[in-house]
Symmetry: D2
Subunit: 403 residues, 4 copies
C-alpha cells in the first residue's frame, strides 16, 4: 500500500467506528452479532484488508492492519475482535507464499489459498476460528478434538468453546488432532467447516461480563465430514509449528482491539472530565492538579502500551517469525491487555458516580477491558514467555511455550 492508501484506510476505519459506537450499547445488551457493523465492513471492502492486491484485496501490512483494527475497535470492540478472527485466516493465508512449492502438495496449497481468498474477496464470506476446548484453553498440544482420514475427506469429532461469530460466520477453521497422534507434539491440522455442515451443532451458552457481541458460543462436532479440499492449505500437521514460529496472528492480531478499547476509554474520560464541575462551582475538575496528574499518568501508560503495539507490528512486517519479533508481540499483548482494565477502573474513579450508568459507554469499556488478558496468550503466559526469553530460554522449542 502507498502511504496515502494507508492513511485513507485508517480514516475509513475511524469513520466506520463512529457508526459502530452508536450501536455498541444495544449489541452489548442483547449479546447479538453486530450485523450492521459487519455490513458496513463488507460494504467498505474491508473483508479483504489482508488479502494481497494481486488476489483482489487491499494488501495491508501488519502495522496498518493493527492501526485499522484499533480504529474499528474504539467504536465497536466486539466487532473489531471478531473481524480480527476473520483476518487471522485471511492473514495467514496471505502470508503463505505457496507459489514456488511444486508438485501435488504445491497444487493443493495454491488451490486452497485461491479458493479461500476468493471467497473473501468475491463472495464476501467471513471466516471464524474454533480452537479452544474445555480444560485446555487454546493449548494445542492437548487438543481433544480428533480427526481421521476417510474416503474423500476427513471426519472430525470434538467440542469447541468460545467460537466467536458462531452462527454468523460462513466458515470455521477447526483445529483437530490426528486420531492416533499423541505425545508432546501431536499432529494438529486445520479444517474448514461450513456453517451449514450437518455435523456441527451450536450450543448457545454465551452470556458474559464483556465482549458480549462477539457471541462466542460452543460448537459440537459429531462425525463432521470435511472434504479433502477443505483441509487448511492442503497440508496436515501445520498446527503447533506455525503457532510457535509465527504467533503474530493468533497472539498479536487482536492487540489492536484492546488498544482501541484503551483509546476509547481514555477519550471518553477526557471528554467527561472536561464537562464535570468541581462540586458547587462552575469550574471544571480539569483545573485540579491531581486530576491533571492522574490523567498524565494514564496518558503515559497508554502511550507506552501503544508504542509496544506499533513496534511489534512493525517488526512483524520487517522480521516476521524472528525470535525478537515474537517476544515483542508477547510484550505488547501483555501490556495492552493489562492496561485496559486498570485504565478503565481509574477512568471510572476519576469520572465519578455518573460514570457507571449504562447510558454512558464507560461501564462497557470496563467490562470489555477485562477480557483481553484471558485470550491466548493469556497475560500470564505472555509474562512467562517474556521472562524466559530474557533469561535465555529457546522459545522456538515448543516445550518452552504454552502451546
Amino acid at each position: 500500500m502507498t502511504k496515502e492508501e494507508k492513511k485513507d484506510l485508517i480514516e475509513t476505519c475511524s469513520s466506520l467506528s463512529k457508526k459502530f459506537a452508536e450501536r455498541a450499547s444495544e449489541y452489548d445488551r442483547k449479546a447479538t452479532w453486530p450485523v450492521k457493523d459487519y455490513e458496513d465492513i463488507k460494504n467498505a471492502g474491508l473483508l479483504g484488508i489482508m488479502v494481497p492486491k494481486d488476489k483482489g484485496g487491499l494488501g495491508a501490512d501488519f502495522l496498518t492492519y493493527t492501526k485499522s483494527l484499533e480504529q474499528l475497535s474504539t467504536g465497536g470492540a466486539s466487532t473489531g475482535l471478531t473481524f480480527n478472527m476473520h483476518n487471522i485466516t485471511a492473514g495467514i493465508l496471505s502470508e503463505s507464499e505457496t507459489k514456488d512449492i511444486g508438485g501435488s502438495r504445491g497444487k493443493a496449497m495454491n488451490d486452497f489459498r485461491d479458493w479461500a481468498l476468493g471467497e473473501i474477496v468475491n463472495e464476501r464470506k467471513m471466516f471464524a476460528s474454533a480452537n479452544s476446548e474445555p480444560g485446555i484453553g487454546a493449548h494445542f498440544s492437548a487438543l481433544k478434538t480428533t480427526y481421521k482420514k476417510v474416503d474423500g475427506g476427513y471426519i472430525i469429532n470434538g467440542y469447541k468453546l468460545f467460537v466467536s461469530m458462531l452462527g454468523y460466520a460462513d466458515y470455521y477453521v477447526v483445529a483437530a488432532r490426528r486420531e492416533q497422534s499423541s505425545g508432546d507434539l501431536p499432529e494438529i491440522s486445520f479444517f474448514i467447516v461450513e456453517l451449514d455442515n450437518p455435523g456441527i451443532e451450536i450450543e448457545e451458552i454465551w452470556d458474559t461480563l464483556g465482549m458480549r457481541a462477539t457471541v462466542s458460543n460452543n460448537m459440537r462436532l459429531k462425525d463432521c465430514f470435511v472434504p479433502n479440499d477443505k483441509l487448511f492449505l492442503g497440508t496436515e500437521g501445520l498446527g503447533i509449528f506455525k503457532l510457535t514460529r509465527e504467533p503474530h496472528w493468533v497472539i498479536g492480531g487482536y492487540v489492536g482491539t484492546y488498544l482501541g478499547i484503551c483509546q476509547a476509554t481514555f477519550d471518553y474520560m477526557i471528554s467527561h472530565l472536561k464537562k464535570k464541575k468541581i462540586p458547587g462551582t462552575d469550574q471544571s475538575v480539569i483545573n485540579r492538579d491531581w486530576v491533571q496528574r492522574d490523567v498524565g499518568r494514564l496518558a503515559v501508560e497508554l502511550e507506552g502500551a501503544r508504542a509496544l503495539v506499533y513496534k511489534a507490528a512493525k517488526m512483524v512486517d520487517e522480521h516476521r517469525g524472528k525470535p525478537e519479533t515474537n517476544v515483542a508481540i508477547h510484550h505488547s499483548k501483555y501490556a495492552v491487555s493489562e492496561l485496559a482494565p486498570r485504565l478503565a477502573s481509574d477512568a471510572i474513579r476519576l469520572c465519578g458516580g455518573s460514570g457507571i450508568a449504562k447510558s454512558l459507554p464507560l461501564e462497557r469499556f470496563y467490562r470489555d477491558a477485562r477480557c483481553g488478558g484471558l485470550m491466548p496468550a493469556t497475560s500470564d503466559e505472555c509474562l512467562l514467555y517474556a521472562g524466559k526469553s530474557a533469561l535465555g530460554f529457546d522459545l522456538t522449542q515448543i516445550k518452552e511455550t504454552y502451546w
Copy 2:
C-alpha cells in the same frame, strides 16, 4: 453485647448470606430490590441491629456491626449496602444521647428518637437516605434542595440522586438547605419523608454497571410537606457539623460491604483455582508457584485492608469523633474501595476465560467492586483527607474537608 452475642450475630449474618448468594444473580440481572433478602433480615430481627437494647434492639457496637455487614455482603452486596443505608439512620440516632438534654429541644429530640427507633424495632420499618444531587454529589455545603418553615412543618423542594431502595424503604432521610441560608456553611437540616408522601416523585433511571440491586433511583421533591415532628432529631442545622465531626456512619458505614465483596471475590477465586487444571493435565493450577505467589500477594492486600477496616471500627467504638478515628475511617474507606476492583480484576485474570461467564459470580463481583470508590467520601477525597491530616491540616475545619 456479650462476646457470645457478637459471635452469634456474625454467624447469623454469615448464614443469611448464603441464601443471599443464591439470589444475587437474579436481583442483579433484573436490578430489582432484593426483597427476599430484606425479609430474611427482618425475620432475623436485624433491622434493630444498631438500636440500643433498652430500646428493643440488638445494641451492636460499630466493630460488630462492620463484621456483620461484611458477612451479609459476601452473599448480597447490594443487600448489605442498602441495609447499611437503613443503619446510618438507626446508628446516628442510637448514638445520640438525648436523655440529658432538657427543655423543649430535649423533648423534641427524645420524641423523634423514640418514634424512629420504635418504627424500626416494632414496625419493622426501613429507612433510606436522600443526599446526593446533580453536579454536587454528596457535598452538603452546595446542596440545592431547600426547605422553608411553614405552619405545622416544612416545605421541601429539590432533586435527589442515587436514593437507594427508593420505592421500597418506608422512610427517607432527606437533606436540605434552609432557603435563605447560604455561604460556606449553610444551615443543613434533615427531614423524614414517607414513601407515600404525595410531594415526592420517583424517576426510574437506575441502570448501572454494578450494585444494581440497590435500585438507587432519583427522587423529585415538589412542595413536599413534612410535619414538625419529622424534623430529624427535632433540630435544624445538624448537617455539616455532624458530618465533619463524626463521619463514621456516612463514610465508614459501608466499608463492611466492600470488604465483604473482597472476601467473596477472594474465596471464589480460591475455590475456582482449586478446580482449575493445568491444561492437558490432571494437576490443579494451585501447584504452580506463580499462582501461589499471586494469590499470596492478594491475601496480604486483603488482610491489610481488613486490618484497617476493623481498626477504624474499633476506634469508632473507643474514640468516636476523635480526629485520629476519622482519619482511620478514611484510610479504611480508601483501602478497601480501591482494593476491590484490583482484586476482582486479578481474580478474573487468574481464573481465566471461564471466569467471565454470567453463570458464575466473579463477573458480578468485578462490576460491584468498582462502585465503592465512587461513594462518599470518594477514593480521591479519602486520599486528600488522609494527606491533609498527615501534613497537619485541621480537619475539624469544614473548609478542609470535602463536604
Copy 3:
C-alpha cells in the same frame, strides 16, 4: 507487664531513638557497630526486654517488643536490627517453658536457660546468630556446616554469612547439621560459640548498600570446639521443627525494625515537605492537592502495613504457633519489607533534589529500606507461604515451607 510499664518502655525506646538518630549517619558511613547505642540499650536495662520477670528481665510480650523495636529503629535501624538478633535468642529461651520437663534432659534445658538468661541480665552479654551460608541463604535443610560429638562437647566446621555484630556480640548461636544426618529433614542443632573461641575466624567483607552498621561479616568455623553445656537448650535436633512451627522470632522479629524505617521515612518526608516552598513563592508545597494526595496514599499504605504488623504480633501473644498466626507473620513481613523501599522512593521523589544529600537522613532510609525483603523469609518466600496457606496447603509440613 502492666499497661503503664508497656507505655513507659515504649517511651524509653522512643527517647533513646532520638540519640541514635544523631549518630546514625556516622555509623552508616563507617559501617561500624553503633557502640554508643548499644551502651544506651544496656544502661536502660533493655538487654533483658524479653527475659521473664522472674529471671530478672522486663518480661515484654511480643506486641510490646515489636513496638519497642519500632521505636528504637526509627532512629537507629541497624541498632534495632542487631538488637533484635540478640532478642531472638532471649525470646526463644524465655518462651521455652522447661520447668516441667523432668530427668536429665529437663535439667540440661533448665541449666542452659538459666545460664543464658543470667548472662543477659546479670552480665549484660549480647547474643548474635550465625545461620546463613553461601548458596543456601537461611534454608536450614541444606546447611553445610556440620557438627560431631566428641568427648565433653562438639566440634563444628563450616562457614557462615551475614553474622550481624560479629566481633562485638559476646555469644553466637551457630546452626549446624549433625555430620551423618542428611535427607529432607536433617538433624539441625544450635550451639553457643563465644567471641574468643579460637575455632572461629572473622572475615571482614561487610560493605553494603544499607543496614551498614549491622556489620554482618562472615564467620569461618575450623574444628571449633563447644562444650556440652553450650548445646542450645541442652537438646540436639531442635532446628527445623522450631522454625517451621514457631517462626515468629526468626521471621517476625525484625518487622518492627522495618516498620520503624517506614515511620522515620514518613515523618522525615512530612517535615521536609512542610518546609519546602512552591518554587518562586513563600507557599509550602503542602498546599498542592497532588502532594496531599500522594502523602495520603502513602499514609494509607503505612497504616495498612502497621496494622498487619501489630495484628500478627498480638496473635503471637495470644495464639503462638497456630497456623493463622504464622500466616499473619508472613503477611506482615512481606507488607512492611516491600512498602519500605517503595515509600522511601516516593518520599525522595516528593522531597525533590535536596532529598538525596547525605547530610539528610532520607537517602539512608532509601538504602536501608531495600534490605528487609532479602532477610528470611524473603519477600518472595513470604508470598509463596501466604499463597499456599490461602490455597489450603498444610504449612506445618516442612516440605511446603522454604526452610
Copy 4:
C-alpha cells in the same frame, strides 16, 4: 549520518562503556570526576557528537544521540549524564540555524556559534550548565541570579546549585535574569563563564545518594564579569521561550542516561539470576516460573519505557518543537525516570542478599536510579505536563508549564 555511521557510533559508545563500567565503582565511592572516561570520550572524538559535520563534528541526530548516550551510561551513568550536560550546549547551538539571520545580531550569533563549536571540536573543550538555584530548582521564571550590562560585557551575581562537572568542565552556561526585569516572564539570558573566571567560587558540598561522580557542586558568582562575546548566541532574553518551545535538550537530553541505567540493571539481574542456585540444589533459580514471570514483567516495562524514549527522540528529529513532540518527551522522561528505581528495587529483591554488596554494581544502580525523577522536568512536573496536554491545555503558554 549514514546508517552505517550511526551503527558504528553506537558500537563505539557500547565499547567505551565497558571500560567505564570497570571504573564506575571507584568514581562513585570517591565522588570524583570520571576523568579517564572523559578522556576516552575526547579521544574517540565524541565531544563533537552533536556538532554539524560542516563544523567538524559527527552531526548525530537526536535519536542516534539518545542511543549513544544510553550505551555510554550503561557503564558510566554519571559520565553519561555529565556528557549530556556538554551536549545540551552543543546541541542547542547546532540546531540554531543562524546563517540566514542578517545584520549585527546575525553576526553576533554566528560568531558565538562558530567560537563555541570550534572550542568543542578543535580545542576539546567541555561545556557545563549552571541553572538551578536554592528554593526554585530549575524554574527559570523565579531565577534570583541577576546580570546587568556594563562596559564591554555583563556583571553576574548569584548562587547556583547542582552544577555538574564544576571544577572540571572548561565553560559554564549560566542562566541569569536581567536586573530590572521581573514579573511572570522575566528576561532570562545565558552567559559563558570560564572555569578560571575570578568571579566564581566553588563550594564543595556534593555528597549524595547517587550519581555521585557527576560532582554537582555549588557555584557562587560575585560580580562575575563576562565579556560581550560570551553572551549566549549574542542574544539577550533567549531563556524561557526556548525552554518552553523546545524542551528536548533540557528535559529529554538525559533520558538516554536513565534508560542506560535501566538496561544495565536489567542485564546485571539476568546474569546474576542465571548463576544463582535454588538453595540446596544445582538448579538455577531461572527455572522457577515465578522468577520467569517477574523478569517478564520487568522486561515489558523496560521495553515500554524504551519505546517511549526512542519514539520521542525520533519525533524531535522529525517534528522538533511541535506540541506532540514536547508531550512525547515528557512522557518518556517520566516513564524512564520512575521505572529506574522500581526496576532496581525489584532486581535487588530477585537477586537476593548478595545483591546489596558494594562489590557488585546493583546497589549503585539502585542509588543512581532514584535521581532521574528529581532532575527537570521532575517526574511530577512531567505528569502535570502530560495531563494538561491530554486535557487540552495550551502548553505553549509558559504559565501552563513548570518553568
